[in-house]
Symmetry: C2
Subunit: 269 residues, 2 copies
């Protein structure tokens, strides 16, 4: 059921261990010699992030401590602080992991065979799936934008965060420009592509955030979790005038097909 990501850890993420090697001559040699070791370090970092995420998920953000991470891993505090230069930097790392997973799911979703509006729904389905399966990671993206976290994150990670956010945004821009090109979406006078993308982002983020963290509330628990994202999206996309409108097409059927075709027992990526 669950799509696995990052089985193979990307070495390019190990910015931290390389940061003090500034002399150009030695750089290459060291890299070549320690390639295997660097892979080991990257794997350890991934392992630490998995443990951290589990701890945050079970005990909540506030109750998560570096002590607990140390005790639940086989590494010492010093080693952990070699990977993350503060607790906040670790959250930043979780945010990066989250963005990478989102991007991966989005790209998978975009392969859905359908019209442009259906593809957009596929992305939203993927976003929802991410939020429900990994609420902790999903929320990390928000908390990573908090001043307190940003101030204490390493510049390398902040940069990586920005890069990935830009990639996600551009990906969504692409959806909209496709729709503009095939004529299923037409900009109203005075409207901008940017603000449409932002509207969709705000709506889907708001829906997910409220469902994930305020699910206990009356108003929300009365709604059908599986369909709220679809219903909200339909209202918004109708408002944008994105054809076919929801009374001319059975998007509830689309929603089911997205689930079946893309996210069921599929060892994608």
């Amino acid at each position: 059921m669950t799509i696995r990501h990052f089985n193979k850890v990307d070495q390019s993420e190990m910015s931290f261990f390389c940061k003090n090697r500034s002399t150009k001559e030695s750089k290459c040699i060291i890299r070549r010699v320690s390639a295997k070791r660097q892979q080991a370090i990257a794997d350890r970092e991934a392992e630490l992030l998995v443990i951290a995420e589990q701890l945050v998920a079970t005990e909540g953000f506030a109750n998560f401590t570096m002590d607990k991470l140390t005790n639940n891993s086989s590494y010492s505090k010093g080693t952990i602080y070699n990977h993350f230069n503060s607790k906040e930097d670790l959250i930043s790392a979780l945010c990066i992991k989250s963005l990478k997973k989102e991007l991966c799911l989005f790209k998978h979703a975009a392969t859905f065979a359908g019209n442009s509006r259906e593809k957009c729904l596929a992305i939203l389905y993927a976003y929802q799936k991410h939020a429900f399966e990994d609420p902790t990671l999903f929320m990390c993206v928000l908390s990573a934008k908090t001043p307190a976290v940003m101030e204490k994150s390493s510049p390398e990670r902040l940069e990586r965060q920005e890069e990935l956010t830009k990639e996600v945004t551009q990906f969504c821009d692409g959806l909209f420009t496709d729709a503009l090109e095939d004529g299923s979406l037409v900009l109203k006078p005075g409207a901008e592509l940017n603000s449409l993308v932002f509207a969709m982002w705000a709506m889907s983020f708001g829906t997910n955030a409220l469902m994930v963290s305020a699910g206990a509330l009356d108003t929300i628990s009365r709604l059908d979790n599986r369909l709220a994202q679809l219903d909200n999206a339909n209202l918004l996309l109708d408002g944008m005038g994105w054809h076919p409108l929801s009374d001319q097409w059975n998007y509830r059927d689309t929603w089911g097909r997205i689930e079946q075709q893309l996210f069921t027992n599929n060892p994608a990526t």
Copy 2:
């Protein structure tokens, strides 16, 4: 410019200090005797919340400590722990303060003279104003729903939270039922009033949350802050079919009138 709230502190909020008085006979006498004292306690609690909010605003949530609160106030740790039985309980109290302010602003906004959709926009204007003026309080409502905070909050405050949330929801329900009654909004077949209210909530919350905490991002900073909420709302309300639609009415003009008539130099409430 700023509308002031809670100059007069509501005594009913001091649940904490009264909780151990269960014998009915003595209750009344004690209440009467200590009425003045209870007012003093309520005032102190309000004072502590103001200081706490400032600290959270300047140093961030993670960097806020009970020690700093103690040092910045004229009271001892023990006294502060008489008001809030944990750091999380204090966040819960900030959430309550936030909800009360929202409700107060919403009721003021609902006095706007206009059609039902314009009234809805007035509420959204008020919500945005709250989020931008008091980002800390705004975000408290979300963090208060976090399991970690809920587990350590006093039951009294959790109950008050729920009460207020219900009040806000019912208030929004009212807006929609008014629109249904005067015919400017018609439910599509299969649609529910509940899900429309939720959609508006998700959209406006998402918009505010992204603007407040991710304002540093490229995509967002390019947007006109003042108008994003309006633009997003117009897309959504058009999608609901709430008349007059945005191409039949100048809602940008409405937005300006809301600001001028309701939220400029007005010592309301």
